[in-house]
Symmetry: C2
Subunit: 250 residues, 2 copies
């Protein structure tokens, strides 16, 4: 098949296919003598995946890496299925939010800004969610986390968030008061942190917790998160987690 046909079939423009060719995302497996692009069935299959991932909001570069992985087709289908269901959920939540506001209006109540932005705020932007999905999607922990948070009501969620804030605040307090990161007090906080995660999200053993702690320093977004609470907090929390893991023999 040549570009025009493929474009019509897939519902994209010829220019788009040219673009995908140029950036190497989808190169036709052949060319005619005259230089016409020739797309084979396998190319169509790839295009199909590209379009699905694109629709889900992945930047093209990531789509490329997603496809470059040696993953088999079934693997892609499973992933796409997960991502689509996440999106479904998210959209459902937005519908619910709008309905809530409609109801509030009809009853003459008006929501606070916080309530209104709820659905935007406490939601990881789709890209980040996708990245997390990509990184952890296959793990047991992720599945557990998805399942549990799905079941949470808003109140649950607020409670969980409050719990988290509390421990973070106490970590910050410890840091400020000059306690060492490998002190008993700090380690106890780390332990509490670990148990919180286990209770609210997924079974988090010492080793896993230690890995998480490392990530707090390696992923600058986590670092930034803690640094905003108090300077040096990322280091402190991470160190406390390592110490706690060590004392429990991990």
């Amino acid at each position: 098949m040549n570009v025009g046909e493929v474009a019509a079939l897939a519902g994209v423009t010829v220019r788009t296919l040219h673009h995908y060719d140029r950036i190497g995302l989808l190169q036709p497996s052949g060319r005619t003598a005259a230089g016409y692009r020739q797309y084979a069935p396998a190319d169509l299959e790839r295009l199909h995946r590209v379009l699905l991932y694109r629709e889900l909001g992945f930047p093209l570069e990531e789509v490329a890496t997603l496809l470059s992985g040696d993953a088999d087709p079934a693997e892609h289908l499973r992933r796409q299925h997960r991502l689509l269901r996440d999106r479904l959920e998210r959209t459902t939540a937005m519908v619910a939010a709008v309905e809530k506001e409609m109801e509030a209006r009809s009853m003459g109540i008006s929501l606070t800004p916080e309530e209104r932005f709820e659905v935007f705020g406490d939601w990881l932007p789709e890209e980040y969610a996708a990245e997390a999905e990509e990184k952890w999607g296959e793990t047991e922990a992720w599945a557990q986390s998805q399942q549990r948070t799905r079941a949470m009501t808003k109140d649950d969620w607020l409670r969980v968030k409050a719990e988290g804030d509390d421990v973070e605040a106490r970590f910050a307090g410890a840091l400020r008061s000059g306690v060492a990161a490998d002190s008993e007090q700090a380690m106890d906080l780390a332990e509490e942190h670990r148990q919180q995660i286990s209770r609210n999200f997924y079974d988090c053993g010492y080793e896993m917790h230690a890995g998480l702690g490392r990530m707090y320093l390696e992923d600058e977004r986590f670092t930034a998160y803690y640094e905003r609470i108090a300077p040096g907090l990322a280091q402190f929390v991470s160190a406390a987690i390592q110490a706690n893991a060590a004392r429990h023999g991990a």
Copy 2:
């Protein structure tokens, strides 16, 4: 509230707010003496709408016109609700498509490219759908059309599409054979076209049909659609529709 707070609340960056200010999409209702942006509650409300429409895929410029309309808040909520439900449907369809493919795989069957791209192909790009929504969303005809197409199975849809293709092909044939646009034959085709619409989408009277015919010439996308089938077809169909409407006294 100042930018940083608003940004944190709404889950966007400060830069985004600057941008919206610059392009006039969302200008803070005040500034401090030092030039700091000050956002009032009403600004937050507007931002909320902006973000929802943006999420739904509208370009910012259209978001601006959507918001510039004197429409009351309830009106926005209804519209957002409709758009979100459309998206929900679309996502559901995609989930179904992926599930279908998973099943096919597990049974060792493989789908044709057409089947695979179905969900992309016969779907008006979200932007266009949104535009149509914008233009016709309040009309009875649109509501009917939405309702009926929603209820259609895939086979229904293919049948409807085949019907349409058939009439179009016969229009093209008539044009090719030199029949006049106001001839009986052409008018009969137009009548068939009208009845098809009435049967499959919405009650389409002569006047409405005439309006539709005019749009075939005014909206270049419709023009392009017919011109692709046969050069001059847009004119021909439009004229035949006018003639048919006239003979029925519209």
